[in-house]
Symmetry: C2
Subunit: 192 residues, 2 copies
């Protein structure tokens, strides 16, 4: 109590101090867990044909909560996650994404990109956006708003959102097992 920092005390967010405790596994346990987690995540594939099997909404909510624990520049948390379940809306999104992606293939990205993708045998048709039980749209907030209406700078917003996406992917793999969404993610990130 003698070490009260005046500057800190003066700030609006004077929250209670929560002591930090880190548990630690034994060395053998760490090695086992690291091997297991690698094997699990190494099963992920960027598939283009998705199952329409339903997953409890609670799981999707927990996955997004997990992504929201991501670190971010100056702790601005510059992300918005939107879950879409409605069939009509999913189809509308598919139309927008396919339209943008067709432009990518036909002019925006250039011949080299089209050629580099050839071996992956992808195109701009994304049927899986109709099939998937949920679409998780991820938006980066290039800036925020302060209570007084002024712009709030979001430092490293693209890096921060992408790190959150990596955590989201890890959570999907751990919680459910197989899913992937980079295509949808990268497409939307280029159009929003």
């Amino acid at each position: 109590m003698d070490e009260v920092d005046e500057e800190w005390q003066g700030l609006d967010e004077n929250v209670a101090h929560i002591p930090f405790f880190a548990e630690r596994y034994s060395e053998a346990e760490m090695i086992k867990r690291s091997q297991m987690f690698y094997e699990l995540l190494n099963k992920r594939r960027s598939v283009r044909f998705l199952s329409d099997e339903m997953v409890p909404r609670e799981v999707i909510d927990n996955v997004i909560r997990t992504a929201g624990t991501s670190p971010s520049g100056a702790h601005t948390e510059p992300w918005t996650f939107v879950v879409v379940q409605d069939q009509y809306l999913k189809h509308k999104i598919r139309e927008i994404v396919e339209e943008e992606e067709e432009i990518n293939y036909k002019k925006r990205m250039g011949d080299r990109w089209v050629n580099d993708l050839k071996r992956l045998r992808t195109n701009w048709i994304k049927e899986y956006l109709d099939t998937a039980p949920y679409l998780i749209l991820i938006f980066k907030q290039v800036y925020g708003r302060l209570p007084n209406g002024k712009k709030k700078t979001h430092y490293y917003n693209e890096i921060s959102v992408s790190i959150a996406c990596g955590i989201l992917l890890a959570a999907l793999m751990f919680d459910i097992s197989q899913l992937d969404f980079l295509r949808g993610f990268s497409v939307l990130s280029s159009t929003c």
Copy 2:
């Protein structure tokens, strides 16, 4: 066998087809796992004081292997992970990072950034870069090299590397329990 795709057959990387099987947990199990994974990752804090306790190198290698399963633009995998354990090298890196970070605080990032960071009570002194048993340096490869020496485009390289960093963070949390490196990461990403 009737559906052989001539175009695909003609490509150099004609690897064997590995059928994809996705295991799926029961709904109750998914909910339980998603809750557990959220609680685990929610324990992560961006601490500035790290333990010097050793962690088996095998764990670090598995963490990096896990990060390397990340999706990337056109599967270019535009990342380089470097593990530094040598005390002298770690200190050299600390000096470089602190020098760059001091410039961030004093001129590069501007008054607003310095002010926004105030409540986090951070500065450019990073003692923990000496303390941590390992530093994992993560570099984005802005482009690669083709066998003929020409430049190979790495699409979305910053997004791809950042997603890999998110997966790396998730693996560190799952395998070891507590660590964080966003500060070091973001500093290095701004200087390389």
